[in-house]
Point group: C2
Protein backbone atom coordinates (compact mmCIF):
# COMPACT_ATOMS: atom_id res chain seq x y z
CA UNK A 1 0.00 0.00 0.00
CA UNK A 2 1.26 3.45 -0.93
CA UNK A 3 0.70 6.12 1.70
CA UNK A 4 1.14 9.86 1.22
CA UNK A 5 1.45 12.22 4.17
CA UNK A 6 0.19 15.53 2.82
CA UNK A 7 -1.82 18.69 3.30
CA UNK A 8 -4.65 19.20 0.79
CA UNK A 9 -3.67 22.59 -0.66
CA UNK A 10 0.12 22.08 -0.75
CA UNK A 11 1.19 22.38 -4.41
CA UNK A 12 4.12 20.02 -3.75
CA UNK A 13 1.76 17.34 -2.42
CA UNK A 14 -0.68 17.94 -5.27
CA UNK A 15 2.07 17.41 -7.84
CA UNK A 16 2.83 14.02 -6.29
CA UNK A 17 -0.89 13.13 -6.08
CA UNK A 18 -1.30 13.95 -9.78
CA UNK A 19 1.70 11.80 -10.73
CA UNK A 20 0.44 8.82 -8.72
CA UNK A 21 -3.10 9.15 -10.06
CA UNK A 22 -2.01 9.54 -13.69
CA UNK A 23 -0.12 6.25 -13.32
CA UNK A 24 -3.16 4.67 -11.64
CA UNK A 25 -1.26 3.95 -8.43
CA UNK A 26 -3.67 3.77 -5.52
CA UNK A 27 -2.64 5.83 -2.54
CA UNK A 28 -3.89 6.28 0.99
CA UNK A 29 -3.83 9.98 1.87
CA UNK A 30 -2.94 10.91 5.45
CA UNK A 31 -3.32 14.54 6.37
CA UNK A 32 -0.22 15.70 8.23
CA UNK A 33 -0.33 18.93 10.19
CA UNK A 34 3.45 19.23 9.83
CA UNK A 35 3.55 22.60 11.64
CA UNK A 36 2.56 20.79 14.87
CA UNK A 37 5.88 18.92 14.58
CA UNK A 38 4.62 15.52 15.69
CA UNK A 39 7.70 13.49 16.79
CA UNK A 40 6.57 10.43 14.79
CA UNK A 41 6.37 12.53 11.66
CA UNK A 42 9.76 14.16 12.25
CA UNK A 43 11.31 10.71 12.63
CA UNK A 44 10.01 9.84 9.17
CA UNK A 45 11.21 13.11 7.67
CA UNK A 46 13.91 15.24 9.30
CA UNK A 47 13.09 18.15 6.97
CA UNK A 48 9.74 18.32 8.81
CA UNK A 49 7.67 19.05 5.73
CA UNK A 50 5.23 17.39 3.34
CA UNK A 51 4.92 15.49 1.03
CA UNK A 52 6.29 12.29 2.53
CA UNK A 53 5.59 9.14 0.53
CA UNK A 54 5.77 5.59 1.83
CA UNK A 55 6.25 3.29 -1.17
CA UNK A 56 8.21 0.06 -1.87
CA UNK A 57 9.18 -0.05 1.84
CA UNK A 58 10.92 3.32 1.45
CA UNK A 59 10.04 6.63 3.04
CA UNK A 60 10.58 9.42 0.53
CA UNK A 61 10.65 13.19 0.87
CA UNK A 62 11.34 16.11 -1.54
CA UNK A 63 8.62 16.29 -4.18
CA UNK A 64 10.86 16.62 -7.27
CA UNK A 65 12.90 13.55 -6.28
CA UNK A 66 9.67 11.66 -5.46
CA UNK A 67 8.15 12.38 -8.89
CA UNK A 68 11.33 11.30 -10.72
CA UNK A 69 11.34 8.09 -8.67
CA UNK A 70 7.69 7.34 -9.49
CA UNK A 71 8.47 8.05 -13.15
CA UNK A 72 11.43 5.67 -13.19
CA UNK A 73 9.62 2.85 -11.37
CA UNK A 74 6.33 3.27 -13.26
CA UNK A 75 7.26 4.69 -16.67
CA UNK A 76 3.80 4.20 -18.27
CA UNK A 77 2.04 6.46 -19.05
CA UNK A 78 5.12 8.61 -19.44
CA UNK A 79 5.36 12.05 -17.86
CA UNK A 80 8.88 12.69 -19.18
CA UNK A 81 10.10 13.04 -22.79
CA UNK A 82 12.63 10.54 -24.19
CA UNK A 83 15.32 13.00 -25.20
CA UNK A 84 17.72 14.81 -22.83
CA UNK A 85 16.69 18.20 -24.26
CA UNK A 86 13.02 17.48 -23.59
CA UNK A 87 13.76 16.21 -20.11
CA UNK A 88 15.84 19.32 -19.42
CA UNK A 89 12.91 21.53 -20.34
CA UNK A 90 10.56 19.59 -18.05
CA UNK A 91 12.98 19.85 -15.13
CA UNK A 92 13.62 23.52 -15.81
CA UNK A 93 9.90 24.27 -15.69
CA UNK A 94 9.29 22.13 -12.60
CA UNK A 95 11.98 24.22 -10.88
CA UNK A 96 10.49 27.40 -12.32
CA UNK A 97 7.12 26.66 -10.71
CA UNK A 98 8.37 25.11 -7.49
CA UNK A 99 11.01 27.79 -6.88
CA UNK A 100 10.16 31.02 -8.66
CA UNK A 101 6.37 30.80 -8.99
CA UNK A 102 6.24 29.46 -5.43
CA UNK A 103 8.36 32.33 -4.13
CA UNK A 104 6.65 35.08 -6.16
CA UNK A 105 3.04 33.89 -6.04
CA UNK A 106 2.07 30.86 -3.94
CA UNK A 107 3.85 31.95 -0.77
CA UNK A 108 2.42 35.46 -1.08
CA UNK A 109 -1.18 34.42 -1.73
CA UNK A 110 -1.92 30.91 -0.47
CA UNK A 111 0.39 31.01 2.53
CA UNK A 112 -0.79 34.45 3.59
CA UNK A 113 -4.49 33.77 3.13
CA UNK A 114 -4.71 30.12 4.25
CA UNK A 115 -1.59 28.81 5.98
CA UNK A 116 -1.37 31.71 8.42
CA UNK A 117 -4.85 30.95 9.68
CA UNK A 118 -4.35 27.18 9.74
CA UNK A 119 -1.07 27.47 11.62
CA UNK A 120 -2.40 30.28 13.83
CA UNK A 121 0.45 32.62 12.86
CA UNK A 122 -1.32 35.94 12.51
CA UNK A 123 -3.18 37.79 9.79
CA UNK A 124 -2.35 38.01 6.07
CA UNK A 125 0.27 40.65 5.29
CA UNK A 126 -1.44 42.85 2.70
CA UNK A 127 1.92 43.90 1.23
CA UNK A 128 2.68 40.26 0.39
CA UNK A 129 -0.82 39.61 -0.97
CA UNK A 130 -0.47 42.61 -3.23
CA UNK A 131 2.94 41.45 -4.47
CA UNK A 132 1.53 37.98 -5.18
CA UNK A 133 -1.49 39.35 -7.07
CA UNK A 134 0.86 41.38 -9.23
CA UNK A 135 3.33 38.55 -9.84
CA UNK A 136 0.74 35.97 -10.91
CA UNK A 137 -0.10 38.13 -13.94
CA UNK A 138 3.49 38.00 -15.13
CA UNK A 139 3.56 34.22 -14.63
CA UNK A 140 0.27 33.66 -16.47
CA UNK A 141 1.67 35.71 -19.34
CA UNK A 142 4.81 33.56 -19.40
CA UNK A 143 2.64 30.43 -19.52
CA UNK A 144 0.62 31.95 -22.36
CA UNK A 145 3.87 32.67 -24.23
CA UNK A 146 4.90 29.01 -23.87
CA UNK A 147 1.43 27.68 -24.77
CA UNK A 148 1.30 29.81 -27.91
CA UNK A 149 4.24 27.73 -29.12
CA UNK A 150 3.50 24.29 -27.65
CA UNK A 151 0.52 22.05 -26.90
CA UNK A 152 1.68 21.53 -23.32
CA UNK A 153 4.03 23.61 -21.20
CA UNK A 154 7.25 21.72 -21.96
CA UNK A 155 6.42 20.49 -25.46
CA UNK A 156 3.92 18.41 -27.39
CA UNK A 157 3.03 15.97 -24.65
CA UNK A 158 1.81 16.36 -21.09
CA UNK A 159 4.64 16.09 -18.54
CA UNK A 160 5.58 16.69 -14.92
CA UNK A 161 5.95 20.37 -15.85
CA UNK A 162 2.20 20.59 -16.47
CA UNK A 163 1.52 18.85 -13.16
CA UNK A 164 3.83 21.22 -11.28
CA UNK A 165 2.10 24.25 -12.79
CA UNK A 166 -1.40 22.82 -12.34
CA UNK A 167 -0.64 21.93 -8.73
CA UNK A 168 0.16 25.58 -7.91
CA UNK A 169 -2.68 27.03 -9.96
CA UNK A 170 -5.30 24.63 -8.59
CA UNK A 171 -4.38 25.55 -5.00
CA UNK A 172 -4.65 29.22 -5.89
CA UNK A 173 -7.91 28.61 -7.75
CA UNK A 174 -9.29 27.08 -4.53
CA UNK A 175 -9.03 30.57 -3.00
CA UNK A 176 -10.18 32.32 -6.24
CA UNK A 177 -6.78 33.87 -6.89
CA UNK A 178 -6.47 32.98 -10.58
CA UNK A 179 -7.93 35.29 -13.22
CA UNK A 180 -8.83 32.78 -15.94
CA UNK A 181 -9.89 35.59 -18.25
CA UNK A 182 -6.33 36.83 -18.60
CA UNK A 183 -5.33 34.30 -21.26
CA UNK A 184 -7.48 32.00 -23.39
CA UNK A 185 -4.64 29.52 -24.04
CA UNK A 186 -3.88 29.19 -20.33
CA UNK A 187 -7.56 28.66 -19.57
CA UNK A 188 -7.80 26.00 -22.31
CA UNK A 189 -4.72 24.28 -20.96
CA UNK A 190 -6.16 24.24 -17.43
CA UNK A 191 -9.52 22.96 -18.72
CA UNK A 192 -7.71 20.08 -20.44
CA UNK A 193 -5.71 19.10 -17.38
CA UNK A 194 -8.59 19.67 -14.95
CA UNK A 195 -10.80 17.21 -16.86
CA UNK A 196 -8.35 14.32 -16.48
CA UNK A 197 -9.38 11.55 -14.08
CA UNK A 198 -6.11 12.17 -12.20
CA UNK A 199 -7.43 15.59 -11.16
CA UNK A 200 -10.61 14.32 -9.45
CA UNK A 201 -9.11 13.83 -6.01
CA UNK A 202 -7.85 17.44 -5.99
CA UNK A 203 -11.23 18.80 -7.00
CA UNK A 204 -12.87 16.90 -4.12
CA UNK A 205 -10.65 18.57 -1.48
CA UNK A 206 -12.37 20.58 1.22
CA UNK A 207 -10.39 22.50 3.81
CA UNK A 208 -12.27 23.24 7.00
CA UNK A 209 -12.89 26.99 7.35
CA UNK A 210 -12.11 27.59 3.66
CA UNK A 211 -15.04 26.49 1.47
CA UNK A 212 -13.98 26.41 -2.21
CA UNK A 213 -15.77 28.71 -4.68
CA UNK A 214 -18.34 27.06 -6.96
CA UNK A 215 -16.20 27.23 -10.07
CA UNK A 216 -13.33 25.35 -8.37
CA UNK A 217 -14.61 21.84 -9.14
CA UNK A 218 -16.59 22.86 -12.23
CA UNK A 219 -15.02 21.49 -15.43
CA UNK A 220 -16.82 24.23 -17.35
CA UNK A 221 -15.44 27.14 -15.30
CA UNK B 1 32.47 26.21 -26.68
CA UNK B 2 30.61 25.91 -23.40
CA UNK B 3 30.02 29.19 -21.61
CA UNK B 4 28.78 29.60 -18.04
CA UNK B 5 27.36 32.88 -16.80
CA UNK B 6 27.99 32.79 -13.07
CA UNK B 7 29.03 34.54 -9.89
CA UNK B 8 32.04 33.02 -8.13
CA UNK B 9 30.56 32.30 -4.70
CA UNK B 10 27.09 31.16 -5.84
CA UNK B 11 26.68 27.55 -4.65
CA UNK B 12 24.34 26.84 -7.57
CA UNK B 13 27.00 27.97 -10.06
CA UNK B 14 29.68 26.07 -8.18
CA UNK B 15 27.69 22.85 -8.39
CA UNK B 16 27.51 23.24 -12.19
CA UNK B 17 31.22 24.12 -12.40
CA UNK B 18 32.10 20.98 -10.42
CA UNK B 19 29.94 18.80 -12.70
CA UNK B 20 31.50 20.22 -15.87
CA UNK B 21 35.04 19.93 -14.50
CA UNK B 22 34.58 16.37 -13.24
CA UNK B 23 33.52 15.40 -16.76
CA UNK B 24 36.49 17.32 -18.20
CA UNK B 25 34.26 19.66 -20.20
CA UNK B 26 36.07 22.91 -20.81
CA UNK B 27 34.04 25.97 -19.98
CA UNK B 28 34.48 29.70 -20.39
CA UNK B 29 33.35 31.46 -17.22
CA UNK B 30 31.62 34.83 -17.61
CA UNK B 31 30.92 36.72 -14.42
CA UNK B 32 27.34 37.99 -14.49
CA UNK B 33 26.29 40.67 -12.03
CA UNK B 34 22.68 39.49 -12.32
CA UNK B 35 21.44 42.00 -9.75
CA UNK B 36 22.22 44.80 -12.22
CA UNK B 37 19.56 43.25 -14.49
CA UNK B 38 21.39 43.73 -17.77
CA UNK B 39 18.77 43.46 -20.58
CA UNK B 40 20.95 41.08 -22.64
CA UNK B 41 21.20 38.75 -19.69
CA UNK B 42 17.47 38.89 -18.94
CA UNK B 43 16.75 37.97 -22.54
CA UNK B 44 18.85 34.84 -22.12
CA UNK B 45 17.18 33.97 -18.82
CA UNK B 46 13.80 35.39 -17.80
CA UNK B 47 14.29 34.16 -14.22
CA UNK B 48 17.11 36.74 -14.00
CA UNK B 49 19.47 34.56 -12.03
CA UNK B 50 22.65 32.50 -12.40
CA UNK B 51 23.82 29.94 -13.43
CA UNK B 52 23.02 30.19 -17.11
CA UNK B 53 24.83 27.68 -19.32
CA UNK B 54 25.30 27.92 -23.06
CA UNK B 55 25.95 24.42 -24.40
CA UNK B 56 25.01 22.45 -27.55
CA UNK B 57 23.43 25.65 -28.97
CA UNK B 58 21.03 25.72 -26.02
CA UNK B 59 20.75 28.28 -23.24
CA UNK B 60 20.03 26.51 -19.98
CA UNK B 61 18.96 27.79 -16.58
CA UNK B 62 18.03 26.12 -13.24
CA UNK B 63 21.06 24.37 -11.76
CA UNK B 64 19.40 21.02 -10.93
CA UNK B 65 18.04 20.65 -14.47
CA UNK B 66 21.44 21.72 -15.90
CA UNK B 67 23.31 19.09 -13.88
CA UNK B 68 20.90 16.33 -14.92
CA UNK B 69 21.31 17.40 -18.55
CA UNK B 70 25.12 17.34 -18.34
CA UNK B 71 24.87 13.91 -16.71
CA UNK B 72 22.64 12.53 -19.47
CA UNK B 73 24.73 13.94 -22.32
CA UNK B 74 28.09 13.10 -20.75
CA UNK B 75 27.48 10.06 -18.54
CA UNK B 76 31.18 9.27 -17.91
CA UNK B 77 32.45 9.58 -15.22
CA UNK B 78 29.06 9.00 -13.65
CA UNK B 79 27.70 11.30 -10.94
CA UNK B 80 24.44 9.36 -10.59
CA UNK B 81 23.86 5.77 -9.40
CA UNK B 82 22.32 3.21 -11.77
CA UNK B 83 19.33 2.22 -9.65
CA UNK B 84 16.18 4.32 -9.13
CA UNK B 85 16.58 4.10 -5.34
CA UNK B 86 20.13 5.44 -5.53
CA UNK B 87 19.10 8.21 -7.92
CA UNK B 88 16.23 9.12 -5.62
CA UNK B 89 18.65 9.55 -2.71
CA UNK B 90 20.95 11.77 -4.80
CA UNK B 91 18.04 13.98 -5.89
CA UNK B 92 16.65 14.13 -2.36
CA UNK B 93 19.98 15.35 -1.03
CA UNK B 94 20.53 17.83 -3.86
CA UNK B 95 17.13 19.32 -2.93
CA UNK B 96 18.04 19.16 0.77
CA UNK B 97 21.14 21.30 0.20
CA UNK B 98 19.73 23.60 -2.46
CA UNK B 99 16.44 24.22 -0.63
CA UNK B 100 16.79 23.58 3.08
CA UNK B 101 20.51 24.16 3.67
CA UNK B 102 20.32 27.17 1.36
CA UNK B 103 17.35 28.59 3.27
CA UNK B 104 18.67 27.82 6.76
CA UNK B 105 22.38 28.52 6.28
CA UNK B 106 23.66 29.95 2.98
CA UNK B 107 21.13 32.76 2.71
CA UNK B 108 21.68 33.72 6.35
CA UNK B 109 25.48 33.72 6.23
CA UNK B 110 26.81 34.18 2.69
CA UNK B 111 24.05 36.45 1.45
CA UNK B 112 24.13 38.60 4.57
CA UNK B 113 27.91 38.92 4.75
CA UNK B 114 28.80 39.07 1.04
CA UNK B 115 25.82 39.59 -1.29
CA UNK B 116 24.46 42.55 0.65
CA UNK B 117 27.74 44.38 0.19
CA UNK B 118 28.18 43.36 -3.46
CA UNK B 119 24.63 44.37 -4.36
CA UNK B 120 24.80 47.48 -2.16
CA UNK B 121 21.69 46.50 -0.20
CA UNK B 122 22.64 47.46 3.33
CA UNK B 123 24.44 45.86 6.25
CA UNK B 124 24.28 42.23 7.42
CA UNK B 125 21.28 41.54 9.65
CA UNK B 126 22.86 40.10 12.81
CA UNK B 127 19.67 38.15 13.62
CA UNK B 128 19.99 36.26 10.36
CA UNK B 129 23.72 35.69 10.77
CA UNK B 130 23.07 34.25 14.24
CA UNK B 131 20.33 31.96 12.89
CA UNK B 132 22.66 30.75 10.10
CA UNK B 133 25.54 30.09 12.52
CA UNK B 134 23.21 28.00 14.66
CA UNK B 135 21.66 26.10 11.74
CA UNK B 136 24.95 25.09 10.13
CA UNK B 137 25.79 23.02 13.23
CA UNK B 138 22.63 20.98 12.80
CA UNK B 139 23.38 20.46 9.12
CA UNK B 140 26.98 19.41 9.74
CA UNK B 141 25.67 16.90 12.28
CA UNK B 142 23.21 15.54 9.72
CA UNK B 143 26.06 15.15 7.22
CA UNK B 144 28.15 13.38 9.88
CA UNK B 145 25.23 11.02 10.54
CA UNK B 146 25.07 10.16 6.81
CA UNK B 147 28.85 9.82 6.48
CA UNK B 148 29.02 7.47 9.45
CA UNK B 149 26.96 5.08 7.34
CA UNK B 150 28.24 5.75 3.82
CA UNK B 151 31.51 6.59 2.02
CA UNK B 152 29.87 9.53 0.24
CA UNK B 153 26.73 11.47 1.11
CA UNK B 154 24.27 9.49 -1.01
CA UNK B 155 25.99 6.08 -0.94
CA UNK B 156 29.25 4.37 -1.85
CA UNK B 157 30.20 6.55 -4.79
CA UNK B 158 30.62 10.27 -5.30
CA UNK B 159 27.52 11.88 -6.83
CA UNK B 160 25.82 15.18 -7.56
CA UNK B 161 24.73 15.17 -3.91
CA UNK B 162 28.36 15.57 -2.82
CA UNK B 163 28.84 18.38 -5.32
CA UNK B 164 25.69 20.17 -4.12
CA UNK B 165 26.89 19.98 -0.51
CA UNK B 166 30.49 20.89 -1.34
CA UNK B 167 29.30 23.85 -3.40
CA UNK B 168 27.51 25.36 -0.40
CA UNK B 169 30.23 24.51 2.11
CA UNK B 170 33.06 25.81 -0.09
CA UNK B 171 31.29 29.17 -0.48
CA UNK B 172 30.82 29.36 3.27
CA UNK B 173 34.41 28.27 3.85
CA UNK B 174 35.51 31.21 1.71
CA UNK B 175 34.13 33.48 4.46
CA UNK B 176 35.37 31.19 7.28
CA UNK B 177 31.88 30.15 8.31
CA UNK B 178 32.48 26.40 8.54
CA UNK B 179 33.79 24.88 11.78
CA UNK B 180 35.75 21.90 10.42
CA UNK B 181 36.49 20.73 13.94
CA UNK B 182 32.87 19.85 14.57
CA UNK B 183 33.04 16.47 12.84
CA UNK B 184 36.03 14.40 11.72
CA UNK B 185 34.05 12.48 9.09
CA UNK B 186 32.74 15.67 7.51
CA UNK B 187 36.23 17.14 7.45
CA UNK B 188 37.61 13.95 5.85
CA UNK B 189 34.83 14.01 3.27
CA UNK B 190 35.58 17.65 2.41
CA UNK B 191 39.33 16.96 2.22
CA UNK B 192 38.63 14.15 -0.28
CA UNK B 193 36.42 16.27 -2.49
CA UNK B 194 38.59 19.38 -2.17
CA UNK B 195 41.63 17.52 -3.49
CA UNK B 196 39.93 16.54 -6.75
CA UNK B 197 41.15 18.32 -9.89
CA UNK B 198 37.53 19.44 -10.49
CA UNK B 199 37.77 21.61 -7.36
CA UNK B 200 40.80 23.66 -8.49
CA UNK B 201 38.87 26.38 -10.27
CA UNK B 202 36.78 27.02 -7.12
CA UNK B 203 39.85 27.25 -4.93
CA UNK B 204 41.33 29.86 -7.28
CA UNK B 205 38.33 32.21 -6.93
CA UNK B 206 38.99 35.69 -5.57
CA UNK B 207 36.15 38.10 -4.92
CA UNK B 208 37.18 41.73 -4.84
CA UNK B 209 36.76 43.18 -1.36
CA UNK B 210 36.58 39.72 0.20
CA UNK B 211 40.02 38.08 0.37
CA UNK B 212 39.71 34.37 1.24
CA UNK B 213 41.30 33.08 4.45
CA UNK B 214 44.58 31.17 4.08
CA UNK B 215 43.04 27.77 4.80
CA UNK B 216 40.48 28.18 2.00
CA UNK B 217 42.68 26.87 -0.82
CA UNK B 218 44.89 24.73 1.43
CA UNK B 219 44.33 21.00 0.84
CA UNK B 220 45.72 20.35 4.30
CA UNK B 221 43.34 22.68 6.16
Amino acid sequence: MIRLFHVPLSPFCRKVRLSLAEKKLEVELVEERYWERDPDFLRRNPAGKVPVLRIDDMILSESAAICEYIEEKHPTPSLMPNDPEGRFEVRRLVSWFDDKFHHDVTSNLLYERVNRKLTKSGYPDSKNVKAGSKAIKYHLDYMAWLLDRRRWLAGDSMTLADFAAAAHLSSLDYISDVDWNRSAVVKDWYAKIKSRPAFRSLLADHVSGFPPPEHYADLDF
